[in-house]
Symmetry: C2
Subunit: 446 residues, 2 copies
Amino acid sequence: MTDYLIIGADAAGLSAAVQIKREDPDACLKVINKGSIISYAACGIPYVISGDVESIEKLIHFTPETIEKKRGILVEVQKQAIRLFPEEKSVEVKNLKTEETYREKYDKLLIATGAVPNKLPFIDYEEEGIFNLNDLEDLKEILRYIKNHQPKRAAIIGAGNIGLELLEGLNSTGIEVHVFEMFPEPAMVWPPLIREAVKRKIKEKGVRFSGEASVKEVRKTGKGFALSTKKGSHEFDMVFSVVGTKPATDFCKDKIRTLDNGALVIDRKGRTSEEDIYSAGDCASIYHKILDRNVYFPLGSTANRMGRIAGLNMAGKDIYFPGIVGTQIFKFFELSLAKTGLSLKEAEKEGIRAGISSAKRLNKAGYYPDAKKSEVNIIYDRSSGKIWGASAVSQGNAAQFIDPAAVAVFAGLNVKELGWFDAAYTPPFAPVWNAWVSASLKHKVD
Amino acid sequence: MTDYLIIGADAAGLSAAVQIKREDPDACLKVINKGSIISYAACGIPYVISGDVESIEKLIHFTPETIEKKRGILVEVQKQAIRLFPEEKSVEVKNLKTEETYREKYDKLLIATGAVPNKLPFIDYEEEGIFNLNDLEDLKEILRYIKNHQPKRAAIIGAGNIGLELLEGLNSTGIEVHVFEMFPEPAMVWPPLIREAVKRKIKEKGVRFSGEASVKEVRKTGKGFALSTKKGSHEFDMVFSVVGTKPATDFCKDKIRTLDNGALVIDRKGRTSEEDIYSAGDCASIYHKILDRNVYFPLGSTANRMGRIAGLNMAGKDIYFPGIVGTQIFKFFELSLAKTGLSLKEAEKEGIRAGISSAKRLNKAGYYPDAKKSEVNIIYDRSSGKIWGASAVSQGNAAQFIDPAAVAVFAGLNVKELGWFDAAYTPPFAPVWNAWVSASLKHKVD
């Protein structure tokens, strides 16, 4: 009988566990987890802060008790993997309640430890009022702090996706937000269409944004915190540090092949470089179909998919992940912003002679009530017309336009054909020419 | 200089006219139109009846005056083509104002006469209170009749798409509706998933539906109309006959190759069997990429696309329509219902060993407010896994799920890959596993 060990009880780990249990009901399967809360929707954190989602509990799918009861999966919490011994097929584990360490043996191991937030060296993250937004424990702290201290001014260090979602969440509660970003603009990893929309929305909402503003110091003052950049100092009641994440692989990255950032390299079955060790989720790389190589692209949707595949393969199946195309979407106030495939800049970096075409359209017939504006950019090969990517901004749901474009990118379709595509049309739900079809139609191929 | 003549000034005809004018600004271009209202959104008619769209004028994009002023396109209204002489390159035209007939010569002709409603032989469509729902003139009559007579009970003969949209429109105004359908069920051309949802919704709304109820007679009574089927007679204040449409090609179908129903057969450039005669829109066939043959599939979105292509080719371009996959969507009360590609039954009819898999999912994260239910069926080849079609019912927007599936059908992708597809995910706009991806994942390929 195979001993399965899974480190990490969130999206990837539990997706794998469920599949192993399904394929091999009598398997000896154990899941260990560093924190005491498992199986939660980290992506929902900003919406609990804003109050759109009414309680933390809504974000928790399973507790250790319910997953054991409903799925027969044993999860031990407050157990941290601290060292890996592939040659002995064991993991050194620390019981965080007792501080004891012990060895856990495995026949097949899944590392699904996720990612942890990067930390700035000059910040004391233990200080009350300074937050790193790692997990639901942090969220509890944030809610408690807001309730007890009624903060008026918050600083967010970092204007990436998490910083922006947090910005919206805090702004919705009436807290005055000031964002500090080391790069000149917010949402720097996103293409210009989306960056510009974010900038306009930040302005419209009266949120202060400081670009090229590396934070040098965060100091406790009598009433709150003094945050300093080279341009000056500001006072805040609370400070959020959201400057990216890194794979939680410190305990094993000397034993397994990784990308430069420490993400475990996996193949399309979820296998690492070491025998019988699999990985999935934010601690691992993922195969990018368009780039045809492993990249670091940590997303909840990918963690679920790759976790499931790893679990199936650990249990003896033979399933290959076809690869991501890199579809991403986020909400920012009244907008949804999305991307798939390559941006113009990314395509050019790959040596593609890329073109871009753009269209603005409503998301339903213009005469139908409540039609919302959408704008889509399509990236394509200027010689062949092959589609490489798309980005979309919508006052409605950008997924309506980015998902079909994503499938087109996956399939390597041609904008010459896509410009005539018969997407769904009916006045209350979609216009005759929607933005992604129109943008494809406006291609200029040599 | 080329003399272009276009018969019909709606979606197909005007899409062509705009392209011809763009490609050949000095072209001698004339558009004639039977009715006096041009360039209107027929698909919007039910929403004016319901009051969702506030006025008829909202549905009119151009008047003859505005299209001449803004686009330099001359449209002569109340001119009906009554005979075609391909050998002489001329059309006999009747001026409906003066009853005079004359010949109109052309170098290149586009027939874009659309479709007309089928009529039941025992109905006197001239009677006030009986409607055929052909164009905006009919809509004006309907609104006037409702205003003046305050009808309480309406009969709708025919439970296809137009009948159902009309049902919703009338029901929203408080008029009691009874639908009569010769087939046992409503929405008979749609797959079971959609038919069942329509049936449940009809019941839920308290609308009376009579299946297998061929209407035998509609007779004027003192107060209204007596409508009889073999099962009995019913009294109504107004009667709608919406039993399908047929191509408006009576004036030319003896001179041009047609499908059995009279639709002009066109190639992928919009050319008919006769030299220099093009056609597009509801009077013509359309190339179906999946079936690899010409079909009759009259939709506004197709008319716009094929009209545009015909116009470009008439003006000397060389553009081929890649074909439809047969994407369709309609609104029915709180639901949107959509289909693309082939249904299980249609696939089997084509000799495909087809399988079907199904998934019910919310349209956003379950913990996010206002998440709506969606259900998607995926049709695929049980041997190869190739996707052939999909259908979707959603309390949100089914286009979000049917459009990506439509692109997958267009590309001939495989459900084995699509089940892992990285569709957009963020709690407020899409779930981790959306219904079309989940349905693909649940395939059973031999």
